[in-house]
């Protein structure tokens, strides 16, 4: 798979620290849980995204196919929390600049 343009995310040293949701301090989730769900759960229209951690692709969304998931990251990051995850966004012909999007 041609990776396209690689976009580094912010360093995620805090992956396993909780992210408190505003207004819901009783609910704590990890950043990886959030990324996993916003990218890997729900309706698939189209899109192409690869999240990689330390060069290992974890999530691929493209042509409505999910190849693998983020569980690996939970383990990998458990022993190497200083890795810098990256998001890879392959070039998508259908996406022009400044489009409307569901978020």
């Amino acid at each position: 798979m041609a990776p396209g343009r690689r976009i580094p995310l912010l360093p995620m040293q805090n992956d396993f620290e909780s992210v408190s949701l505003a207004g819901h301090p009783d609910e704590d989730v990890s950043l990886l849980d959030i990324l996993d769900h916003v990218l890997n759960a729900g309706v698939v229209i189209h899109g192409s995204l690869v999240i990689s951690v330390a060069g290992v692709d974890l999530v691929y969304l493209g042509l409505n196919v999910i190849l693998t998931s983020v569980e690996t990251a939970f383990r990998n990051l458990g022993v190497a929390k200083d890795v810098v995850p990256k998001v890879v966004i392959p070039k998508n012909k259908g996406i022009a600049e400044s489009k409307r999007s569901l978020r």
Partner: protein
Amino acid sequence: MNVLEHDELRLLWSEVEWPFEPSTFQRKAIEFHQTVHHLFKQTAVIPFRLLSIFDHQQSLADFVARHGSGFIADLERLQDVVQMECIIFFKSPGLPDLSSGSAYLRQKAGLQHLLDEFGGNLHTALSPVSAGLRIKEVKNGKRIYCQVQRGQEDLFRTTAQGVKMPDSLERRVSGPWPAAEFLSESVKMPEVAGQK
């Protein structure tokens, strides 16, 4: 945030610059999650995956006109449930027994048996507190998705944490999440004309 109304459906969407500033992706993902979760606290929601992009508002309207009834049916079906998850996996893969081929296979089978047995115990324990349950095999582990009645999340957590676990395994319990794993296929992966 914009709202598109179609019969009983309300579709929330927003406009983003594309391509967006890379350093903001993480923040955008959290904001997206917070928005979805804020609504989810109040009612059933069907989240679109982040970066579900429509060319223009009319294409979104057309999409809703075609698929709205399926969305409504799923929202009604999942109205009172949330999705809770339990992931089980090996703490460390450990060193493979390479003394012989059969020793390696025996070791691998033993680890798999351990995982299957614990997964089975979790399944048995969680079934009474779940309206629906799915197990997905993942690398070095299993991911268990459960439909749980709203208000029963703590019972689920207590039950999942209470199952005796072998030392070599770990578990992570998370939720509540929108019941995305229990959407019907036609809702989860609708065909969109001209957007394949």
